[in-house]
């Protein structure tokens, strides 16, 4: 047996030992199970004797018989199984398209299968009953596991001046013992001085003629695990708050337009905002290779017909207005109603007119009037086009004018002859050509409100701190006992550490050497 500590561990399946004597369970980390089982029986005796001394009332704990449900939920095996099932479900979710994307799959698989999968909530797996149920189970498991083990950690944290493990000094090796020439008082003073210098604080107790001194460092390490577990509960809480009272929507605003209603992502419903938003301007800058460099919207928030605030919204720089977060998510363009048209009259005269659908205009030579019937962004996959009707006293003609007529003619050289309505020169002596159709940008905004975010952020901080504590720090407890052995003063040092046993060994040696030095060479 190690002279430093006794690795009595928690049997994860809710062994009665841990419930009855949480006091002595000082290691729920780093415990070897075989070791535990083997210790179990020879420890049992000593423990029943020892419990009299502890601050926790023995009877009280004994009477609290843990139910089967409690031990089911407090088992680590359940936690592991739950984590694996959650991982599996999450995995399945990445194989099937989720939410909006699922519609695409509908056309490719049999309708029966699709509706079955839909019923099983495979297409919204992360918000499905399955997933929520698993997360709920995990939360309960985590809570009960932690509650079950916390008293032990708390007792370790509080530290008792006399080791709770009665065997701590029993098999102390020679290297941890030292017989000074001085009396008990002097030895105690020297030990007190040393502990004060090295650990800042210590506790002292006298028992049956022995003096016990106890010092501890890194005691907060006992709580690392609970911080991590609490943070997971925090994430789950934050997610629940978010899904219950959060808003996840989006909206597209054309340059110059104002909106006051957003579309919700889930279910496709619309939601009115308590204010309106106007997109004053949309700016897009590109790199040389054509990739977007910056896109931004100049927005104005309007409340009760008054412009309250004007902002520039950029990707990665959201804006908050009345609790709603606005994100620059996307952009796009739509065909406007305006087009620029050139009229070429045989013999030279060229006029340029700005038109829109419904626009009526006299031909420059007063041969008749023409009317713009339609403005199309992409007519029959052949690019932008407008439909024009020309009337004169003698004739009437209706035809399309394509912007890319030259390119179309390269593919179908005789298009004007074969399809007269595609001939821009159908009304003599004019030839129409479409120079450009106006494009209007719209800005795509993501609009969110998630009251769960601060909870999740706090949980994230807690998670990282907890993990850092678990991995990088360790709790170490040192006891110095000064007693009489066959009439000689004896100093013994025992220590306990969950991790870094080698470091503990060095520390005990160092303390003993210091103590020896102080007592043998007093200043």
């Amino acid at each position: 047996m190690s002279p430093f500590y006794l690795p009595v561990g928690a049997l994860p399946n809710g062994d009665s030992m841990i419930h009855v004597f949480p006091v002595i369970v000082f290691s729920n980390l780093c415990v070897n199970r075989e070791l535990h089982c083997q210790k179990h029986h020879d420890k049992h005796f000593a423990l029943t004797v020892y419990i009299v001394d502890t601050s926790l009332s023995g009877e009280n704990i004994l009477s609290k018989k843990k139910s089967t449900i409690w031990s089911f939920f407090s088992s680590v095996r359940l936690a592991i199984v739950l984590l694996l099932i959650i991982a599996l479900i999450a995995m399945i979710g990445t194989l099937f398209p989720q939410r909006e994307a699922a519609a695409e799959l509908a056309g490719r698989i049999p309708p029966g299968l699709f509706s079955f999968l839909q019923k099983m909530q495979i297409f919204d797996l992360y918000h499905s009953v399955w997933f929520i149920l698993l997360m709920g189970l995990l939360a309960v498991n985590l809570l009960i596991c932690s509650l079950n083990r916390f008293p032990a950690a708390w007792n370790r944290f509080r530290s008792s001046p006399i080791p709770r493990d009665p065997d701590a000094f029993k098999d102390l090796g020679e290297e941890n013992l030292f017989y000074p020439e001085s009396d008990v008082k002097k030895a105690t003073d020297a030990a007190t001085h040393l502990l004060k210098k090295k650990y800042h604080s210590f506790k002292q107790a006298d028992e049956k003629g022995s003096v016990y001194l106890c010092a501890q460092k890194g005691r907060f390490a006992h709580f690392g695990v609970y911080m991590v577990h609490l943070s997971i509960l925090g994430f789950i809480c934050g997610a629940v708050i978010g899904s219950v009272s959060g808003i996840d929507g989006s909206v597209k605003i054309l340059e110059g337009e104002t909106i006051s209603v957003i579309g919700l992502r889930n279910g496709g419903k619309m939601m009115p905002l308590p204010f309106s938003v106007r997109c004053d301007k949309f700016t897009l800058e590109r790199y040389k290779n054509g990739a977007p460099r910056i896109f931004q919207s100049d927005l104005t928030f309007i409340k009760n017909d008054r412009a309250v605030r004007s902002v520039k919204l950029l990707v990665n720089h959201p804006v908050v207005f009345e609790g709603f977060h606005f994100y620059q998510a996307s952009y796009g363009s739509v065909t406007g109603k305006k087009a620029t048209l050139a009229l070429l009259r045989d013999g030279g005269r060229r006029d340029i007119v700005n038109v829109s659908a419904g626009y009526t205009f006299d031909l420059p030579g007063k041969e008749g009037i023409f009317k713009v019937l339609r403005v199309e962004d992409n007519m029959m996959q052949m690019g932008p086009a407008i439909k024009i009707a020309v009337h004169s006293e003698k004739e009437a003609a209706t035809f399309w004018v394509f912007r890319d007529i030259d390119r179309i003619r390269q593919v179908i050289p005789d298009v004007s002859e074969r399809v007269p309505v595609f001939n821009p020169g159908l009304f003599r002596p004019y030839t129409f050509s479409l120079l450009e159709i106006e494009k209007k940008y719209y800005t795509g905004l993501q609009v969110n409100r998630d009251p769960g975010t601060p909870v999740v952020a706090a949980a994230a901080v807690l998670l990282i701190s907890g993990l850092m504590i678990i991995i990088f720090s360790y709790a170490r407890q040192i006891w110095i006992r000064i007693d009489q052995d066959d009439g000689r003063v004896r100093i013994g040092i025992a220590g306990r550490s969950i991790k870094n046993k080698v470091g503990l060994k060095h520390e005990v040696r160092y303390l003993l050497a210091q103590l020896k030095d102080n007592l043998e060479n007093p200043k």
Binding site: I80, L83, N316, Q446, L467
Partner: protein, 281 residues
Amino acid sequence: MINTAILSWVTFIYFGAFVFYLFRMILEHPFWGKLASWIAWTGLIAHSVALIIRWKASYDLAIGHVPLSNFYESLIFFAWTIVFLYLLMERQLKNHSIGVFVMPMAFLMMAYASIAPGINNRIEPLIPALQSNWLTSHVLTCFMGYAAFTVTFALGIMFFVRKVVARNSSGVRAFIHLLPSDDQIDDLIYSCAALGFIFLTLGIVTGSVWAHYAWGSYWSWDPKETWSFITWLIYAVMLHVRLMRGWRGVRMAAMAIVGFGCVLFTYLGVNLLPSLHSYLT
């Protein structure tokens, strides 16, 4: 570009280091271990210089950003973190045998970056979503995590190799006695997995913060997010079974390999699925 030229040389340097680590194991002379270590350090320094040159070059092109923004750069940085982490570990442990298992990983990563078709090694400007200070911290922490898991994986492989060679009594005895003992490997597997777990957690958290600013939601179950979560769960299970259920040896080595499978899928496999993280393709 000078940086890619240096980086292709670094690939061969890492391969050389691997060969000399292997010499150390087979010829049993400590000289080869020292030489291998020196070569690996030289490679790491050249690698770092290349990264800095690439960084500077991006500023000269007036599109300055850290060299962590596309698939090529991520592979290169992945290899860098693996070698960096390994060499730190080697200094601590004073054991050259692990290099035989880790260096091939770094070499393969570098080789893939320069050979694989369709990998663009040019410095590309950042699209608006990537123009964020969170880019550096997110990518840095994620890849430190990935690297720690890669070393864990190499240790897992080493554990099994040791087991197999030990079983054949006629096997190379020298090879065995230079490797750390089962218990030491087991401790190393745990330490590396724990380190990776911390970094992966940091990576996920920084990613979440960034997503909160860029996409308007700290978590959107995008495949990359989901797979990083799956990886996180697997390593959480790995740490729990060790600490709470006393798993050791073979089981931990197997977990190290399974975990690395998840890491690889998070890093590469996810590109086969539609994703918001599609910057890599």
